[in-house]
């Protein structure tokens, strides 16, 4: 049995992402967050399980659905909310929005919404860091859709060639926007087998089981840090809400209601809560306190974002170039 501190930490990490994103969903219709948001509600265990295995100095790269990865890696909540509100105090001065989060202090080097685009960048950051003699590991998060981009394969090849300390984390949530896997990839093989074909060590696990995620991630991190090269991890999970935006969209009929309900039952947070309660690690009250703490933290962040100034007009042409 894992120690109580870790379990509690994992729980708090997932809960925090959930509460933050649910609040975003609630506030979004006010039309003050004027940029696309891709919520990861339902998928929190992957972000939290993987990032828990990392050091603060390790690098994380992400894609369009990055709030969870950013927060799990220790990214600053206020800067994130301010960024989504388009304010000068945002982590990217409002220039990036939800799809371009960054927090250098936390090693969250960047998220971009071009599918697959951060995969080679993550490999490069890990390799470049190793070239400089540092012992950093990099993780790249991406979806099942990103496996269809050629650049993913180019990245795997190079990472193995140079034994780059990088971990490829695929969040397989079965859909790319409204498109199920079946219309995009041949059904007869598992996703992680592709990476295996390249010769990269690869594993698959339940992405809603934060402990399973964490344990695979831990092994991969250890191997990478020890010079053993890359690992590919596939985690099956499920996005609860619409691809982009605050709502549920199962009325659209692109995925079976039953599938959704099945996955909702397998909520990663509820599962761990049960475990914590059963094992007596937390009490109902303790959990309630955690919730309120995160909620106030989020309220403060929203307040901060709202009160923050807009970026000055002079920022428009700033930072195109160094000088």
């Amino acid at each position: 049995m894992m120690d109580a501190e870790i379990l509690t930490r994992l729980y708090r990490g997932m809960l925090r992402i959930r509460i933050v994103e649910e609040r975003i969903a609630e506030l979004y219709p006010q039309q003050e967050m004027r940029c696309p948001v891709h919520l990861c509600i339902g998928q929190e265990a992957v972000a939290v399980g993987v990032c828990d295995a990392l050091d603060r100095g390790d690098y994380v790269f992400s894609n369009h659905r990055s709030h969870g990865h950013y927060l799990a890696k220790g990214g600053d909540l206020r800067s994130m909310i301010a960024e989504i509100y388009g304010k000068a105090t945002g982590c990217a001065q409002g220039k990036g929005g939800s799809m371009h989060l960054v927090d250098l202090d936390a090693g969250f080097l960047g998220a971009t919404p071009i599918v697959g685009s951060t995969i080679p960048i993550g490999v490069g950051a890990a390799w470049g860091s190793a070239l400089k003699g540092e012992s950093r590991v990099a993780v790249v998060f991406f979806g099942d859709g990103a496996l269809e981009e050629g650049v993913f394969h180019e990245s795997l090849n190079f990472a193995l060639l140079k034994k780059v300390p990088v971990i490829f984390v695929c969040e397989n949530n079965l859909y790319s926007v409204y498109s199920p896997l079946a219309v995009r990839q041949p059904g007869e093989r598992e996703l992680f087998c592709i990476a295996g074909g390249h010769g990269v060590e690869s594993h698959q696990a339940d992405g809603n089981d934060v402990l399973a995620v964490r344990s695979l991630a831990e092994r991969a991190v250890e191997k990478a840090r020890g010079g053993g090269g890359p690992t590919f991890l596939e985690f099956k999970t499920y996005r609860w809400r619409e691809h982009c935006g605050p709502n549920y969209d199962d009325d659209l009929g692109y995925r079976p209601e039953t599938e959704f309900l099945e996955w909702k039952k397998r909520c990663p947070i509820a599962a761990l809560r049960e475990r914590l309660l059963e094992a007596g690690i937390c009490s109902d009250r303790g959990i309630g306190e955690m919730e309120s703490a995160v909620k106030s933290e989020m309220e403060a962040a929203v307040e901060f974002a709202r009160r923050s100034p807009w970026p000055a007009d002079t920022l428009l042409m700033g930072d195109v170039y160094a000088s």
């Binding site: 599918v115 498109s179 428009l316 042409m317």
Partner: protein
Amino acid sequence: MPRELKYAQAINEAIDLCMARDPSVYLMGLGVPDPKGVFGTTLGLRAKHGDRRVLDMPTSENGMTGVAVGTALAGCRPVMTHQRVDFALLALDQIVNQAAKWRYMFGGKLKVPLVVRLIVGRGWGQGPQHSQSLHSWFAHVPGLKVVMPTTPYDAKGLLISSIEDDDPVIFLEHRWLHGITGPVPEGVYRVPLGSARVMREGRDVTIAAISHMCLEALRAADTLAEDGCQAEVIDIRSLRPLDEKTVVESVRKTGRLIVAEGGWRSCGFGAEIVARAVEQAFPSLKCPPCRIALPDCPTPTSPRLAAKFYPRAAEISEAARAMLGIRETRPPVPASAPLDVPDPSFTGPF
């Protein structure tokens, strides 16, 4: 009264008609058969034409463009759709090295009748990687044809011409045009590739505009008219082949030229129009032409910065007034007006 359709419906109808007439036409792209149907432009087509001819695809822009090129060689007429121009950056080997060149480099033995629909994102924080236009890039490449319809009428007529054309056509749709309405005749009609359209006649200044900027140009022309300035507004429509004649003749008449486009200024399409006008109508020019274009920075996401980033009617009319020596009269845009949505009905996120 003529029938009115939305731009997105006009696109839809063009594809529908072409598919009905020619079994070799098929439609492919991310989200093509999904419930939103690429901003409504592909809704219902699968039900009508079947899942072999209306299909989704893997997120493999370069590979799938190559696949489309291959089917074109085999006698099909693919219509490929990307929801953002930015994604097509992954497919430029196939678009530029291959599709644009196979006819020429194989001595005319092969042809690639491919249409690539690319949607230019804008507003609601599309930001740096979801709002590039890049029409100037495509218009630089021999072997490609490039069109950017502004009205629902042209969207349908140009798309039919594009699908029937034997060369690769880049068909750029500005996201903010999908919702505008206008008269669209039923049945098949064609707007020829390579013809510009005078949207409004005038004698004082020529405003040559592209895509969504044509609407801004028309608005500018309205306010200019109040000041006694008659602006001629030309919708370029077809960037390659370019209807140089229509622009040059207008400039010869007015002696003044403003080019308004939604791409970056440096090395942009506006420079080409200016160069052509100067080369062909130098003696008629009363003052230097003026380019209204995006400033040379990536698209910022914050609505506040985006509002500064995109030039609008006011910039155009201001440029015209400066050329004509007319004093500024327009009230400044109030700071609180939302400038990152095409119309008030749009509530995000895409």
